[in-house]
């Protein structure tokens, strides 16, 4: 028997279409916020207040000519961005958005590690896509992507384990639903460090070295045009949504919040979207504040500061959980 409810959940809400629309919406929020912080207007023509601008950019890229360099590795060049996009969307499907995840289950113990691995695989595929384009700028850009995300994955994993320790389980559903007090209040040091490590993973803010167009033209995107470039940009944006959603689930109590009247599913999705927007706004604000750091400064910040701080934060959380919180 075909389960129509499941298919609708996967395709429309809270599955593929919802995630796509949420991505485009977050893109618009980012651009409008950055513009306002810089005392200018931002997108304003496409749709009311410019809200259709990300969609217009996507469609414009789809209509452009698709050129492939002669010496690029064809299969990897064509399919790597697409597979990266698919994996990211699949990873988001594990997160509870309206009370339960897209697959209507409550997940399994250990799916936190699974989705973090998916994120690593997607970043690795992005690196491969730049490597396969056989262009000096692409090669340097993708090498930088590799060093950066591999380096920052380690503190990211450790900091993601902090809420797991407090909740006592590695299942995202359990972590999200057991937050009577949001973990941002119980372990604020982990939250701050997680935000910084997430900025570096998503290549935003002061850590957007692979995006450094003043030295590298386009970085790993240099040889991509047309529809492939559209998917590459979309992958980047979906990664941002994924990162923000992870922060929401782990530290801000997931979609759970007060239900006033009617369907809990509606209220849960609303709280989820609002909390997501708050994280996106904070991340974009940090981007606007600072200049771009050099690659060696980014890496030394990782190995000298973020990684020891992550270890210390883990130790501190374990100590608090074992001895302090049971007293409260």
């Amino acid at each position: 028997m075909i389960d129509f409810d499941l298919i609708l959940r996967i395709l429309i809400f809270p599955g593929f279409t919802f995630i796509l629309l949420l991505t485009l919406f977050c893109d618009w929020v980012e651009r409008k916020l950055e513009a306002r912080l810089q005392n200018r207007v931002g997108p304003m023509v496409a749709g009311p207040g410019g809200i259709l601008q990300p969609l217009a950019d996507f469609i414009k890229l789809l209509t452009k000519e698709d050129i492939e360099p002669r010496d690029a590795k064809k299969t990897v060049f064509k399919f790597a961005p697409l597979i990266a996009f698919t994996i990211m969307v699949f990873a988001i499907c594990f997160l509870p958005i309206d009370g339960a995840s897209v697959l209507s289950t409550t997940g399994f113990n250990g799916d936190l590690i699974v989705i973090l691995t998916f994120s690593t695989i997607a970043s690795f595929l992005l690196f491969l896509s730049g490597w396969a384009s056989c262009n000096p700028y692409g090669t340097i850009g993708s090498a930088r992507v590799l060093t950066q995300f591999l380096g920052y994955d380690i503190p990211l994993f450790m900091l993601a384990l902090t809420p797991a320790f407090i909740a006592g389980s590695l299942s995202i559903f359990v972590i999200a639903s057991s937050q009577t007090i949001p973990y941002i209040l119980l372990a604020p040091w982990a939250f701050v460090l997680f935000i910084i490590a997430m900025q570096a993973e998503l290549e935003k803010g002061p850590f957007d070295v692979p995006d450094a167009e003043s030295e590298l033209v386009g970085g790993l995107e240099t040889e991509y045009t047309g529809a492939k470039l559209a998917f590459l940009h979309l992958t980047r944006d979906v990664q941002i949504v994924f990162g923000a959603a992870l922060v929401v689930e782990l530290f801000l109590g997931g979609p759970y919040g007060p239900v006033f009247f009617g369907l809990p599913a509606f209220w849960y999705s609303l709280w989820f979207v609002l909390k997501l927007l708050a994280v996106v706004i904070v991340a974009e604000y940090i981007t606007t504040l600072f200049a771009r750091l050099r690659i060696d400064q980014v890496l030394s910040a990782n190995w000298r500061i973020i990684l020891p701080a992550a270890i210390l934060s883990l130790m501190l959380t374990v100590a608090m959980v074992t001895w302090v919180y049971p007293l409260v």
Binding site: R40, P136, P206, A212, V217, A291, L293, Q297
Partner: protein
Amino acid sequence: MRRQNQTPNSNIDIINVIETKLKDKVQIQLGQLGKAAIVTSNGLHRDVLKAMVEADEKTAIIAITGLDLGANLGVLYHIRTSNAFLTIRAEVPKDNPKIQTVIDIIPGAVFHELEVSDLLGVVFEGNRLPGHFVLSEYWPEGVYPLRKDVKASEIKLNPPPPEEEKQPEYGKIVKIIIGPQHPALLEPEKFAVTVDGETVTKVEPRIGYVHRGIEKAAESRTYLQDVYLIERICGICNTIHACNFVEGVEKILKTEVPPRAKYLRVIALELNRLHSHLLTLGHAGLEIGYETLFQYFWRDREPIMDLIELTSGNRVYASLMTVGGVRRDLKDTDLPKIKTTLEDLRKKLPFYRQIYRDEPSIKARMQKVGVLKREDALKLCVVGPVARGSGVDIDVRKDEPYEAYGEIPFKEIVYTEGDTWARMNVRMNEVEESINIIEYAIDHLPTGPFRVKAPRVVPAGEAVNRVEAPRGELFCYIKSNGTAFPERVKVRTPTYANIPAFLKTAIGENIADVPPNFVSLDPCFSCTDR
């Protein structure tokens, strides 16, 4: 760290030095082409230069001009010392145009010699480059454009060479081409940067992509039309180019400009300097990824553009200068608006100064990057904020005041660190000095005419002139032959003198430091290529 203006060698009389060391071998004509013109021949010019360099450490070559004198080719070396500005003349016959190079005495002369050899065919022994320097690769051999017998419309370019197959290199980066089209550069030039890992080992420049032959075009237009042509060498510093040319023509004509015109010229020039510095300060932020700073600076630059539009009728090309004064007067009803705009800009300056001084990410990207030591700055003959950021205090407005700068008090900003941070801070502080100058000029504006009539046919003669553009010292040499058209116009722009400094400071640094280093020079390639 700022330093007061101190010139330890300012008492050296360089003419005396040359007279004692090389008496009877050279002929000194006082008062011509600067403080004096020293007539030498091939070989002797090196002795004169050596004597000057040994006597005064601040000796620098401003430019090398090539002239077509019929049967001979003239080579003029324009030299600047701590307190004098003079010219060394030499001539070589056209059928054997060889002259000895001077790059072992003053390394900063290398670009100037290459340009003269490209455009006029003078062969500098010891300084040859395979291929062309300023002209394109398809230029026919043996055709030297600035010679009088070459007509610009009759030059035929060679067809481009066939494309060669290149082997793809996977994973092995040796040469990165910061190519003619690049997001970091506003204008096209090619820099082939050889890297070893992440460290730069060599930078090879290729300039000439924007070469429009303005010096040759100026020879077929009248002086009045040339003012507009020379103004269009550069869009950002257009007023100062026009002022430079007009002052040179006025020196040949020996016209005296009325005092009100001098003050009006100063106001226009300082407005130009303000908008140029704000542009650079914002653009530097963009290079290091600081888009917010870029947007703020360019937002505050807009009222200055409105002021330029108010005083001259156009936001970019002011076209205010003419031979004999300025073309339009400053109305008294406009003065309050100028003052309020400048007051608003002055109120915003402490925030920007604090950013460029204290902001952690700017300090991380800009301090100790692209360090140019004082000895290198003197040997490579750099000018402008690049020199003032390395402890060399040269500023034409103070060393040889022109227009009304002698009567207006202002400070010269010198920093000693020599890195990118120091250069940007020099420009940041010069913004405030410019505001002070404009306000003083408005308060002390003399009454009277703003223009005198000047003849259209200029008598035969030569003149040199130098002014302080926002990017450094701008120099021109004009030769007239008694007709309504000039015989030779030579312009040496400040970025042309500063690029050798970039080639030196980039070596040994991280490849990621090349854009901030480069943009701190404030490159303007339209000026460089003319």
